[in-house]
Amino acid sequence: MIHLLSNAIQEGLLNIRVKLGSFLITLLMVSLSFMVFDIFLIISWNLGTVLKNEQENVGIEVFLSDNLTEVEAVNLADIISGMEGVRAVYYVSPQEAEAVFRADLPEQADLLTLLGPQFHLPPSIQISLHPDYRTSEKVGGLARTVSGMDGVEDIVYGKEYLPGLTKAVDILESLVILAGLVLAVSLSLIVANTVRLAVARRALAVQIMSIVGAPGWFVKIPFLGEGLLTGVAGAAGSLLFTVAVSWMLSSSIHHEFLPGKWIMLVLILGASSGAAGSWIGMKSGIPKPRS
């Protein structure tokens, strides 16, 4: 059994060695088409990270009226924190608001000094939301409820930004899946074609092996191996190219490379499309015993 398997693998290596040139060209072709997918993945991964951060920041800022005492304000915050969809609330006193203002906008800090001691920023309550509530409808509903409460002067949330945000994330995800599918299909077809050619070129060997008593899998393993290798090596090659491109662009476009899990995904996609391709290629290439 061991001998049989090692013979099958040797046979496969022989196949590849005989036409190393065309194998390398196929590999390059697969790598380049895979690279388009890798770059797409990187863009979507980076945009996804940005959007996720943005989504994380989707919250509601509630400005309170000046004549509300601190105790009343904290009470109000307590009530809000008990409402559905609210993850946390944070009361910002006028003093804290001013400190934040001075820290964030040091150039405008003089403005406050100019306005004199009787002016102060309004107190506010920052509401952060449960992830499920970061959609435009739910935020809108909550905001309406809160704005009707006593002591609430004004309410601010990302009215304009939100609907687009949610949609963008959805579209991006389906685009990645679509691109992955298109790539898997085209890679399978490339591999199917090279395997079909390989089978045709090796028709005599396939026939003789089967006539002298080789099991079906022995005949198939070299071609399956070739497809798998093409897929995995093509995917790995595309990642190398993409790393190079990513490195060259790193100074002009700020971005992160793909995380390990996504790299695995690319390799698995390569392997499975390669295997599927060689299966299709063999189906159409190896003659049926009855023909």
Partner: protein, 227 residues
């Protein structure tokens, strides 16, 4: 019984390549099948190694029946057969040694046992000096002897030779036929397809004639006129 054809017919789009064939081949027998081109000789052979199956009737070879055999049994049937073709069908990128070793390699024999068997067989067939050569470096007669060595390497019970001398000149053909007679003497059954049954001495073999897919009585056969 090594081979039994029970009322076998094989049609290709209604064209009868074989029709109502009844045939038995015994252990150690030498059978010569002749007939003009297109008579169905190759089709008959293909039914023996079950590269093709009957349209009606059944073939039984070394205990495997065509109407019951599973795809996974085919390798085991074929390891009991040795097959030789008119055009040799050696693998061009393999040396003589590796061509002869192929049936053992695909059966999972250990490299050591393969070396032992192939070396002794090549020595026996006086091909040892050619073991590192590639098929294109050999004469036609040598190529066919290598093909016969490949067919014999796993000790088959039957050797099928489909017009093995069709591409060889008369002297070399006689060497190949003599080799087959010698192999048969050591106990292997042989089925030989040939245009010219006169190559084989009358006392050595049983003769059958195929004509347009039918086995015909040798005494009534008028095919000699076409030879």
């Amino acid at each position: 019984m090594l081979v039994t054809f029970g009322n076998v017919s094989r049609y290709y789009n209604d064209w009868p390549a074989l029709e109502n064939i009844n045939l038995q081949v015994h252990q150690g027998e030498f059978l010569v099948v002749s007939g003009p081109s297109g008579a169905g000789k190759t089709t008959l052979f293909r039914h023996i190694w079950m590269g093709d199956l009957p349209s009606t009737g059944a073939v039984e070879v070394a205990g495997y029946r065509s109407d019951r055999i599973r795809k996974s049994d085919l390798p085991f049937l074929r390891r009991k057969l040795g097959i030789v073709f008119q055009d040799f069908r050696l693998l061009p990128e393999r040396t003589v040694f590796d061509n002869v070793a192929l049936p053992l390699q695909v059966a999972g024999t250990s490299p050591k046992a393969i070396r032992r068997r192939v070396f002794s067989l090549l020595a026996e067939m006086e091909l040892n000096h050619r073991r590192g050569s590639y098929p294109h470096e050999l004469s036609g007669g040598e190529q066919q002897r290598v093909a016969i060595a490949r067919a014999m390497v796993s000790h088959p019970v039957i050797l099928l030779a489909d017009e093995p001398t069709g591409n060889l000149d008369p002297e070399v053909s006689q060497i190949v036929i003599d080799l087959l007679i010698e192999i048969n003497r050591s106990g292997t059954a042989i089925i030989l397809a040939t245009h010219d049954p006169r190559q084989v001495p009358a006392g050595v073999a049983r003769f059958l004639y195929l004509d347009r897919g039918h086995l015909v009585n040798p005494n009534l056969w008028d095919g000699y006129r076409q030879l």
